[in-house]
Symmetry: C2
Subunit: 166 residues, 2 copies
Amino acid sequence: MTDIFFNVKKHSDQQKFFKGMELLYFGYRDFISWPDDVLHELGFGRAHHRILHFVSRSPGLKVAELLKLLNITKQSLSRVLSTLVEKGHIRQDIGVQDRRQRLLYVTEQGQDLLNKITEHQKEHMLKAFETAGSQSVEGFWKVLSALLTDENREELLNQINKDMGA
Amino acid sequence: MTDIFFNVKKHSDQQKFFKGMELLYFGYRDFISWPDDVLHELGFGRAHHRILHFVSRSPGLKVAELLKLLNITKQSLSRVLSTLVEKGHIRQDIGVQDRRQRLLYVTEQGQDLLNKITEHQKEHMLKAFETAGSQSVEGFWKVLSALLTDENREELLNQINKDMGA
DNA sequence: AAAATATGTCAGTCATGTTGACATATTTAA
DNA sequence: TTAAATATGTCAACATGACTGACATATTTT
């Protein structure tokens, strides 16, 4: 499976497209389909995970910024965010400069939950990176960056690259 | 953005994980969020696209095989597949050896629809491959293959590699 | 003849997204 | 200082694409 399968130059455009699309579909699916254990018990889904992740990644995130990252409407966000706040996983502070803003923070409890959720995914991804090798990981990142919409690219790459010293 | 951003070895495990996860999330999202044009007008969604794709890719596919590929229940498949059959995009033939089976084929009309749907995605992906370069595409494929679940890998890679001469 | 298999379907539910309309608090601008 | 703009929240209705459980039909295997 190592020889011809991965030899890009021996593929037609159509073949490259199919292989890329299908691998992306199956790979993404297998990556995000974690064992339900932790989440389903608690009544949480992927939406909750995404919110916890981005808030944890950028403490003090404003609601508007979160909406832009997730690319959903505030009505959609509302339900999910509300339950996370009610159950004490996320805290909303009133903005200091602008008191209309709600600044979002993950609580200790929320961080514990997030860690439990990502535990498996982190293992999964790092194992895949190890298997594929650094050279391949670099290519993985480069292609995914190129797949971003032109309008999104700069902003998203900045977001992704943010606080990479932490 | 080319220097340190893509230098895998200068990343901690945590940083690799975050970058991989976020790029995969955003990249996948930007790739599958096509312009609604074609589909929404016709009342079709992503589920229809997936079915059309896999049936087109493997003419004569059995329902059970399709279910396994999509990893959904037959009840879920039913609604979507039914409308595709009703509207003449997919044809169901009775199996020759086993008359219980329904063998699925994309009609000419269905292939036209599929082409319209994928037009944009194909451009998008091939452009990204071009930008990133063959070396990167190879890495992209290798990492995604490694992200497949161990139980799935062999079967899926065979599926993906199937009829690559077409 | 009985059991297993491949498929289909009815009914109800859930998670996550959408629009549209409106409310409230706060900041900015005329 | 009032009026407009902004940041957030919420109610209601709806769409899509999953799920479970139960049952039906045709066909093949034992």
